[in-house]
Structure formats: C-alpha cells, structure tokens
C-alpha cells in the first residue's frame, strides 16, 4: 500500500481530472476495497459492481476529500462500504448464500494471519484494533463484527444471535464504547 502522502497527492490530482493519477490510486487501493466488498456482499459479481460504483464516485467526489478528517484509505473504504451497505439494504441476493455459522470466528482468525503489513504505523493500528476486540465480550465482539463485515441491521443481528432486539442494541452500543475507549488508551500508551 502506498504511503498516505502519496495517496493524498493522487487524490488531489484526481480532483483536477488527472486520469493517470486516478489509475495509480485505483492500482494502489482497489484490492483493499475489493476485499472488503467481497466480505460484505459475498458475491464477486456484486462486489465488482460495487467497486465500480465506488470508484466512479471517488472520481467525481475527489475534491470533497478533506485530509484533516481522516486518511485517504479510510475515506475510500468508507465510500465503498457505504455503497455495499446500500446494495444490501435495497435488495436481497437473488440466490441465497450458504450460511456460515462460524464466520465471525473465521474473520477473527483471518485477521491474525492476513494483511501483509507494510507500514509500521499500520501494524500498530491493526494490533490495536485486534487487541481492543479482545477487550469486548463475545456477544459485543460478534455484533460489531457482523455489523461491520456483513452489514447486519439491529433486527438481523437479533435474529442471527437469537437474542432480544434490546439486548442486541445494548451489546452494540456498549461494545462500541468499549472499543472507542480502548483505542484511545492504546493511542496514548
């Protein structure tokens, strides 16, 4: 993955209509966005549609990127993920995907072994998020991960977790608070 400064430079150039810079931005980041879209949409075809949509939007909206609001990759991933959530909310898959009961556990295992970490700063960040996930209760962690990686709503989470809606909402909110506070502590230490 390119350095943050390089991604920012490509984004600035993209905002000015530089197709070469946009191509470089795509080459440097599309595999990360595509990986996330595959996780959320669970269909290569839909993930590719979403990826296309996301980059067309990035091309058009590059001028709205504000470095002070976050890293370029954060912005790109957010655009892609919102697009994926939008697709999930508006249409159920025409062919139901097989259930994967241990998906969250698999995700957690994957997170330990995936991601060739190319930047020390990024390594620290990833370690922090994994360490903080361990700070959550099992239910809180599952809810947060299922919502992030599969785009489940409160109701869908309640069904998947076989728990009352109010309980699920509480798990999520407490889990998020704990995650926020843990990440803040990690940043300080």
């Amino acid at each position: 993955m390119a350095e943050r400064e390089q991604l920012e430079a490509w984004l600035v150039a993209t905002a000015q209509g530089d197709e070469q810079a946009f191509r470089k931005l795509y080459s440097a980041t599309s595999s990360q966005l595509y990986s996330l879209l595959l996780r959320i949409l669970r269909s290569p075809e839909r993930a590719q549609d979403a990826l296309q949509d996301a980059y067309v939007r990035i091309w058009q909206k590059a001028h709205t990127y504000a470095p002070e609001r976050g890293a370029p990759l954060t912005w790109l991933l957010s655009i892609a993920r919102y697009r994926a959530l939008d697709m999930l909310r508006r249409k159920q898959p025409e062919v139901a995907m097989p259930e994967e009961p241990d998906r969250v556990a698999t995700l957690l295992e994957d997170e330990q072994s995936l991601s060739p970490l190319e930047e020390n700063e990024n390594q620290q960040s990833l370690s922090a998020i994994n360490a903080c996930l361990g700070d959550l209760s099992d239910e809180q962690r599952q809810c947060v991960l299922l919502a992030y990686y599969e785009g489940l709503t409160h109701q869908e989470l309640a069904e998947r977790m076989d728990a009352p809606l109010g309980t699920v909402k509480s798990w999520i909110r407490r889990g998020l608070l704990r995650l926020r506070d843990c990440l803040a502590e990690e940043a300080i230490s």
Binding site: T14, A15, Q16, G17, F22, S30, S31, Q32, L33, Y34, S35, L36, E45, Q48, D49, Q52, D53, Y55, V56, R57, W59, Q60, K61, H63, R69, G70, A71, L73, T74, L77, S78, A80, R81, Y82, L85, D86, R89, R90, K91, D110, E111, L114, S115, P116, N122, L126, A128, I129, V144, L145, Y148, G151, T153, H154, I172, L176, L177, L179, R180, L183
Partner: protein, 245 residues
C-alpha cells in the same frame, strides 16, 4: 454537554458508520451532520476507527474488467461533472445501456438554465412565492430528455415532461429519487418514459431534501421492487437548481 449526551451523540455517529441505524434514523443523522459540525467530526472519527477492520483484510485483486468499466465511465464524466451513468456489465438485457449511459451534459445544464430563466425568450418572469426547482435529465446518445420543475407554488409535486419515448426493458422501471448532499435519498416514483407531461407527488422528506444542495438520481430497477434509495444501476444524475423568492 454532559458526558452522557456526548456518549449518545458519539454512539449515534458510531452506529451511523457501522450501518445498524434504520434508514429513517440514518437520514436524520445525515441531515444533522450538515448543521452539527461536531457530529460530522464524530462520524469521521468513527470512520477512521472502523476502517481499520477493512484495512486489516488481505487484499484481493479485482478482475481487470472492473478497471475497464470504470475507465469507460471516466470518458463520459469529469470529477467536477454533475452526473454519471453506469451500465450493467453482466446483464445482457441492459448491456446497451452502457453506451447510452451518459451524465447530464453541458447542454443539459444549459437547457436547465434556460428552463430556470423562463425559457429561450429570456423575458423577465415573476418569482414564485416559494422555492422552485428545475432540473433536466439528458441522455446524450439517444437525445432523450426529461424536463423537471416545480409543479406549483406549494412544491408538493414535480412537473415532469418526457420529450420522447425511451425504451425500458420488460420488468424494469426507471425510478427517480432526490439525493441530498450526504448521500441520503428519497424516492419520488417511477419516471414516465413515454412522451407527455406528468405530475409526480413529492414526499415531505424529498421536498426538504430539494431545498438543499441535492440532485435527481434515476436508477434502472426491478419494476416489482420499491426502495427508498437507489438500488439498481444509476442511469443519470442531474443537479437541482433552486430559486428562492
């Protein structure tokens, strides 16, 4: 603000980013973000926190055809352009739409401007008592156009004029939405595609959205499905011009 209120706002932001809010709550959040910078900041902070999950995944190279499709789109849109259009890459019934799919062109903007000013005669027009809106959808390859503007002073409806016939595949519908600056959208209804003048009702949320920096979005969707936000292929995006009395 108390710690509890701060936490509530922060958690609202977190759930907005996580995607667990209902569509209505998400729309409310998008509107609040426009007028509450601290909330927008909280959302950005949560995007940064949660993006780490996405950064943590092993990269997967997308097929080369995805870039080719994006590249095709770039030839028809500019970063500062007001719209884009995409074609279904894998749906043969819609394949021709890739060629036909074009953003609202400069001509469209000019025509919308003419509509805005009261027509090509350029004579003075009486300002309406309420905000009025104008937009235009223009499909460059076919020349198909829709003129869209306020239907009345109460702005509870839109007047839509389809200038030609536009073929829509069986089982599909051209669905029109108003989309706000935060990406939130409100369904207006099925866009007529036979020549004629029509009136389309505007919901309260759509009307409120139009008063801000919003745009018309038309998507090709399954006729039997309705949703409050675009789900199918976005065919055209066109800005909404606003005039205040």
């Amino acid at each position: 603000m108390s710690d509890m209120q701060h936490d509530d706002r922060d958690l609202d932001a977190a759930e907005y980013v996580l995607g667990t809010l209902s569509p209505e709550a998400a729309r409310d959040m998008a509107e609040r973000m426009a007028r509450e910078p601290e909330l927008a900041r909280a959302v950005a902070d949560w995007e940064t926190r949660l993006a780490r999950f996405g950064e943590d995944l092993a990269p997967v190279e997308p097929p080369a055809r995805v870039w080719q499709a994006i590249s095709d789109d770039l030839s028809m849109t500019r970063p500062t352009g007001r719209g884009d259009i995409r074609e279904a890459a894998n749906d043969s019934a819609l394949r021709r739409w890739r060629i036909a799919a074009v953003a609202a062109s400069t001509a469209a903007i000019l025509l919308a401007g003419a509509l805005w000013l009261g027509g090509p005669t350029g004579g003075p027009v009486e300002a309406a008592a309420q905000p009025t809106y104008a937009s235009m959808i223009y499909d460059q390859p076919t020349g198909m156009s829709w003129l869209i503007h306020s239907a009345g002073q109460d702005d509870n409806a839109l007047a839509v004029e389809a200038l030609q016939n536009y073929d829509v595949p069986e089982g599909k519908a051209l669905r029109m939405y108003v989309r706000g600056p935060g990406g939130e959208a409100s369904l207006v209804g099925d866009l007529p595609h036979a020549p004629g003048q029509y009136t389309m009702d505007l919901s309260t949320s759509a009307r409120q959205m139009m008063a801000r920096n919003s745009e018309i979005v038309v998507a090709m969707e399954d006729a039997g499905q309705t949703a409050s936000q675009p789900n199918g292929r976005i065919m055209w995006v066109s800005p909404i011009a606003l005039r205040r009395s």
